[in-house]
Symmetry: C2
Amino acid sequence: MNTNTNYQNLKDSYLFARVSEKVKALKEKEADKKIISLGIGDVTLPLPKTVVSAMQTAVSEMGHANTFRGYGDYEGYDFLRQEISSYYTAKNVDIAANEIFVNDGAKSDLGNILDLFSADNTVLIPDPVYPVYVDTNIMAGRKIIYMDGNCENGFLPLPCENIKADIIYLCSPNNPTGAVYNNEQLSLWVDYAIKNDAVILFDSAYEAFINDKSLPSSIYQIKGAKECAIEFCSLSKTAGFTGVRCGYTVVPHELRRGGQQINEMWYRRQSTKFNGVPYIIQRGAEAVFSDEGLLEIKENISYYMENARIITDTLTKLDIWFTGGDNSPYIWLKCPNGMSSWDFFDYLLLQAGIVGTPGSGFGKSGEGFFRLTAFGNREDVILAMRRFNDFDSQGNC
Amino acid sequence: MNTNTNYQNLKDSYLFARVSEKVKALKEKEADKKIISLGIGDVTLPLPKTVVSAMQTAVSEMGHANTFRGYGDYEGYDFLRQEISSYYTAKNVDIAANEIFVNDGAKSDLGNILDLFSADNTVLIPDPVYPVYVDTNIMAGRKIIYMDGNCENGFLPLPCENIKADIIYLCSPNNPTGAVYNNEQLSLWVDYAIKNDAVILFDSAYEAFINDKSLPSSIYQIKGAKECAIEFCSLSKTAGFTGVRCGYTVVPHELRRGGQQINEMWYRRQSTKFNGVPYIIQRGAEAVFSDEGLLEIKENISYYMENARIITDTLTKLDIWFTGGDNSPYIWLKCPNGMSSWDFFDYLLLQAGIVGTPGSGFGKSGEGFFRLTAFGNREDVILAMRRFNDFDSQGNC
């Protein structure tokens, strides 16, 4: 019996463990010091009232024989898929309910979609990047090519004609950089994918944070995308569902590769390896898309984006180069004084009691950069920025 | 770009679609006829009160900042894993919390566990069988050997020394046959697996239906099993969680293959491709294992098992051969008068307005057999058996 030996090629990821250890060490040394975390990628605001109410009703229904729900459709209840379809209509995108697959969060589907593609495909992944894209492909034994983000390209790499890839990961608004592709840039990617018979896996987890209406909030706002892209969305950051687990994957009917309709293949995969998202959770998700729900999440997103503005104002004042923070809850800054990512981490933690995430943890192109997040508590963010202001430092790019 | 061409080797599964069509056709013809379904594999009783109450509390917590929960541990909350560990202790099995991985139902993990094993392994699968075991391996391109169930072996196939397999599926109590392996039979399987360096994937979804205390209700009650078996459990039938989605997978520390610790590999897989089961759902699952919860599910299981007894009494009276129904909610009978599975389906539907599941839909060894389930409403089961009794038929084996 042979195990999957590709697992031995995985690098141990010490990023968040290493961050935890250093924070723990400081807390033990200086128990009184208030440490502020601007590093977490988790939400802090509670669920919107409309969502709580919908789930209370659904839990109640499950306790009575005449309203009890057993197995649901693998692709999700129609009541939710219709809401999602309408959400797309509001973006001027026409996606039918049967092109929508409710998931338990984008992470699962981003990994499991790879079941549909042969291991001999070449994958194009940005650097810096959310580590899951890399690890899921190492597990499958695929060849990975990285496309470097840097100050020059604003951490928004564009297609390179010399590189032939079959699967392309794009995340916009980006984690960890907060950078957002515009229409022209995404069109270049769609053209490249069509020309190369490739598939774009478009991670749209942060689409709800986009303020600037000229920026695309779905890959399908780009002409031709239905023939080459799968879009992964999540309510995790949009509606605070990190512990509730619900999102949706869009697989257009037009997407065909290797003579197969990918929508049918995905349905087959899910009906064989998945039994759907809980009814209670789907009713909560449905409530997010109600008029009331959309207002409530808008309020929460505004709260986080005000945190982001406070952070970016401070960085601007300090003349520290950064991207993100305007259409994303992530801010990606150049470490001042040419410090390395971990040196800046230590400096920020020890001098100011602020925890962030070293950019080098997201890839080699992240070295010398740093991620701050806007998900914290307002008072903490204000206090953190006051401490930040005390730095006599400059960061040019 | 190449898709996974193994998907083209999947057979279209028309079983439940075909059943639905025939039922729909009859309903259109005879709108007044009361059709009773004894074919569903879904529960009908609502969730236990303790579970409903626990989930209401958890939903409420999610609406307040100080009790809100974001991302949870990939392997599940400790409060639930400790309960499951205690559930095993009560079976005289010692499983540590860190050998337990909370899942969203056994189906997902039964499919995804295959990520850890090379595609060149040979898989041994019973026939008749729950189709998921077959399809997930066709998708991976593995070689499949079937082991036939029949009247002679009581649909409990035993190891064959001449056959070398790497991955072995056992489901006990069995779906679709309801047959249950005893200690000696499972010991033969554990010995075989250890001798062949194989891994047993033990589907324990129906363990809670076992009445007969001499029968094993966990593979780990067999000496040596920790070195060769992964156990998959589910609250779907145990607690009515088919629409709630929660179960657990046990990967003992002792299980090593290819020089790797499978527990560590599974943790890596789940931390990369999964973000855990919703907090609310885990609180519901925790309630199942409380003293109160265990009493409530026992009551529900007794209800279903009384249905099973009513069905088996009738079959006994009619001298129709069957297995199951005593330690399982499934009854597997030999079609009377040598009828084929689908002929008996039509006969039962048209003559008695009863819907069951043709055994041939579960594999070639299911031809000539038929599955009835005990999950329906009591009055319907009584009425169905009254109609059944009117048959002047006999089924010998």
